[in-house]
């Protein structure tokens, strides 16, 4: 996250850096293939990676899962229909980047694809069995005080909201460890105030709050993983455990027996954020909560109504917003982009106005995020209607228009090059600026071009070299 953006004078005018949400693919493709190979030794990770693949990629992998020799690339390409060849290229790229498959020569001069043998072996284990049991599935006696799903849900919600509450600076400031605060700061969601050293929320932090819960957890955990190695824990071990958790069954207890000390520390961290429940630190068993399940699938929605968290927001075509909630956190979040009118014990009434939305936009929240938040928490009654649209389309469009209205002008700092003596000089410089990605505007007829500020030095140096080489009196007059 580019904190440098803050140093500029006119921050609000130049497009600010937004919260960057990486999915598992984005995360893994930045790892080296050696790391990936190590990770693929665990069936859980193979399973998680497989599910993250694009749908066409999943079909390819399953087709060659039981094939021992490399398959010619042309054959693989012929599996996809012609109209979707672009998608095929993209999928091949993803599979290669993740080292799921490798190029391999075939006798006869063709190149083929073959699945990484580690990946293949461990995906087969996950699917068909064999191999060693996962580290947390030692046998356990029946828990005399077994916890049911609803208990786990309320526990995990409470823990997670503790973190969120801390971020918005609501009352409850206890219950969050210094470690967690460090992660929040590391993730750029909060920053230390210069004056009194207390932490305040950043614009990315606000955007984070508007994400859905699953995405929040994943984003947070990713930044946690960045710090994991500094704490002396093994990244691969933690990742494996995390995915084991993500593939566990809700409402079932798992054993801590045989877990390394590092993992036990990791488990305590997860416990703090509500991803697992443990009665006591040394209980010997733990229960994964909903937060830990299917951690990578940020958009997953449970199939059955009873499993989905209840939405509480009703948006009317007259821009009124009714939120059936008593949570201060939710009220505070809504307050980011609505003008609150009334508050009752179980419901608040607000209105979306141009000013309130602009306020949010100025704060760096995008229209998409606002709409996303409303959509995600919409009251189930809104989904049942005939229209099948959770939000009134007029309101959605208006919010987008309000955002567009702010973007009628886009500014980019740059340097204008003009008054070239010859078309050739212009062409040479234009070509250089273009290939290096510095060119932001040009007009051949006027022999004028605009180069980005960052690229100005490069272009200037090039121009000096170029004019010297041509030993002609090309002066550079700088205004």
């Amino acid at each position: 996250m580019a904190e440098t953006a803050e140093s500029s004078t006119n921050v609000t005018l130049i497009q600010p850096s937004n919260l960057e949400c990486k999915n598992l693919y984005d995360y893994l493709k930045t790892r080296s293939s050696a790391v990936l190979e190590k990770l693929y030794n665990h069936p859980t990770i193979c399973l998680a990676v497989y599910r993250e693949l694009p749908e066409l990629g999943r079909q390819y992998v399953i087709r060659i899962l039981f094939v021992e020799q490399p398959v010619p690339q042309a054959v693989v390409a012929s599996w996809g229909s012609q109209a979707y060849s672009k998608e095929h290229v993209y999928v091949s790229k993803v599979l290669t980047e993740l080292s799921v498959w490798l190029e391999s020569p075939i006798p006869g001069g063709l190149t083929g694809w073959i699945l990484s043998s580690t990946f293949k072996r461990n995906l087969k284990i996950a699917l068909l069995g064999g191999g060693k049991p996962w580290s947390m599935s030692s046998a356990l006696e029946v828990d005399s005080k077994a916890r049911d799903v609803s208990f786990l849900d309320s526990y995990s919600m409470e823990r997670w909201e503790c973190v969120l509450h801390y971020m918005v600076g609501s009352q409850q400031q206890e219950g969050i460890s210094a470690d967690a605060v460090r992660i929040l700061i590391h993730a750029g969601l909060m920053k230390c105030d210069d004056v009194d050293g207390s932490s305040v929320i950043t614009r990315q932090g606000f955007q984070f709050l508007l994400l859905d819960r699953q995405a929040q957890v994943w984003h947070f955990i990713l930044h946690y993983l960045d710090t994991v190695e500094n704490k002396g824990l093994d990244l691969a071990e933690c990742l494996t455990f995390l995915f084991q958790l993500s593939f566990s069954t809700l409402g079932k207890d798992y054993s801590t027996e045989g877990m390394s000390n590092g993992l036990l520390v990791f488990l305590q961290h997860l416990r703090e954020f509500g991803l697992v429940y443990q009665r006591k630190r040394k209980a010997g068993r733990f229960y994964p909560t909903r937060l830990a399940l299917n951690i990578t699938s940020s958009q997953s929605q449970a199939l059955l109504e009873e499993d989905t968290p209840k939405g509480y927001i009703v948006v009317e075509t007259n821009y009124r917003v009714y939120a059936y909630t008593d949570s201060n956190l939710q009220v505070a979040l809504l307050g980011l982009f609505t003008e609150l009118l009334y508050r009752f014990p179980n419901v608040i009434v607000g209105i979306l106005t141009r000013d309130s939305i602009r306020q949010a936009l100025k704060g760096g929240i995008t229209a998409e995020q606002i709409i996303g938040y409303l959509k995600q928490h919409v009251h189930p009654q809104m989904l049942r209607g005939e229209a099948k649209q959770p939000l009134p389309p007029t309101v959605v469009d208006q919010i987008k228009l309000w955002e567009l209205e702010r973007n009628r002008l886009t500014y980019s700092e740059g340097v204008l090059y003009g008054q070239f003596l010859s078309q050739n000089d212009f062409n040479v410089l234009r070509e250089f600026a273009h290939t290096n990605g510095h060119l932001i505007w040009c007009n051949r007829d006027k022999r004028t071009m605009v180069v980005s500020k960052a690229g100005h030095d490069d272009v200037k140096k090039f121009w000096k070299r170029y004019s010297k080489a041509n030993s002609s009196p090309h002066n550079l007059t700088e205004a």
Partner: protein, 300 residues
């Protein structure tokens, strides 16, 4: 200073996963009287293993995917996953994903129960239409209780070595039309003989029909042809749909006909003119030859 230039950060085209959930109901014909099972009972084990691996591969596609498996016989059809009653308490024994282990154990246990209770009388006809009817009711219920706003693609896969008998014709047609109406795709994997009625069902519901040429590669065939969900199928090159013969068979001789006579009361089809309908016992008037019959005034 960060600059966002127009067009400079072109997003890679969005080929990522759609937010849809898929429900697959597998109907497995485990009637021991099928020809392939009579000749070689071990085929059943192979068949069950393949179906289980296929079912798990379906669950592996997406975390939200749902599965149901039914066993179909001549005297009963039963859900063997999720089974009736409490689900088994399964602990991992090896590296297999816990959920997959549960699927495997449940299916095998319930199937064993059914097979042992099967009496020795051999009836070769498996009532697949009834099983599909049950599956449709099940899908209908899941659709009713699903979270509002969720998109659920449902399909039924029939794996069978039995033949399709014309006695079930009406039931077959009813379930096919219902499936079509409910947007449920019916896929059929024939293990033994060609199934012309079920092939019609695939055509009506735009599902896939495949007659497996050899049992050895059953799992591969299942994974290749039937694993892709209907929305992905258009992106893949799959066996092209064959033209389905929709010609009617006459009720009198069960022969396929090009031109026939249809009873205006009960829509029974006959290959020759007969003065009385054998289905509804209506007496027909003799067809007037030549030009259009002149309108007669009728008394009431």
């Amino acid at each position: 200073m960060m600059m966002d230039l127009e067009g400079s950060t072109e997003k890679s085209a969005d080929f990522t996963n759609t937010d849809e959930t898929s429900l697959l109901v597998i109907i497995m014909d485990s009637n021991p009287a099928q020809r392939i099972l009579r000749e070689n009972p071990h085929v059943l084990t192979q068949c069950v293993d393949s179906v289980i691996a296929f079912a798990n591969a379906h669950l592996m596609q997406k975390a939200q995917n749902k599965l149901a498996v039914m066993a179909c016989h001549s005297k009963l059809s039963e859900f063997i996953y999720p089974g009736p009653g409490k689900q088994l308490d399964v602990r991992q024994i090896d590296g297999q994903y816990e959920v997959f282990t549960l699927v495997e154990k449940t299916i095998k246990q319930n199937l064993a129960k059914i097979l042992t209770s099967e009496t020795s009388t051999v009836i070769t006809e498996s009532l697949l239409a009834g099983a599909i009817a049950m599956a449709l009711c099940y899908i209908h219920r899941i659709n009713r209780i699903k979270a509002p706003g969720l998109k659920l693609n449902s399909r039924i896969l029939v794996v069978t070595g039995s033949g399709d008998s014309a006695s079930q014709y009406m039931n077959y047609m009813n379930v096919f039309f219902t499936a079509q109406k409910q947007n449920v795709v019916i896929d059929v994997c024939a293990l033994d003989q060609h199934l012309s009625l079920l092939q019609q069902g695939c055509d009506i519901t735009s599902g896939m029909y495949l007659r497996v040429p050899q049992m050895q590669g059953l799992l591969q065939y299942l994974l290749w042809v039937f694993l892709p969900e209907p929305p992905i199928r258009q992106k893949l090159v799959l066996p092209p749909p064959v033209k389905v013969d929709y010609r009617a068979a006459c009720f009198c001789h069960r022969e396929l006909i090009d031109i026939g006579y249809v009873c205006s009361v009960c829509l029974s089809i006959f290959c020759k003119f007969s003065p009385i309908c054998t289905t509804c016992h209506t007496v027909f008037k003799i067809p007037s030859l030549g030009v259009k019959p002149k309108k007669k005034k009728l008394k009431i």
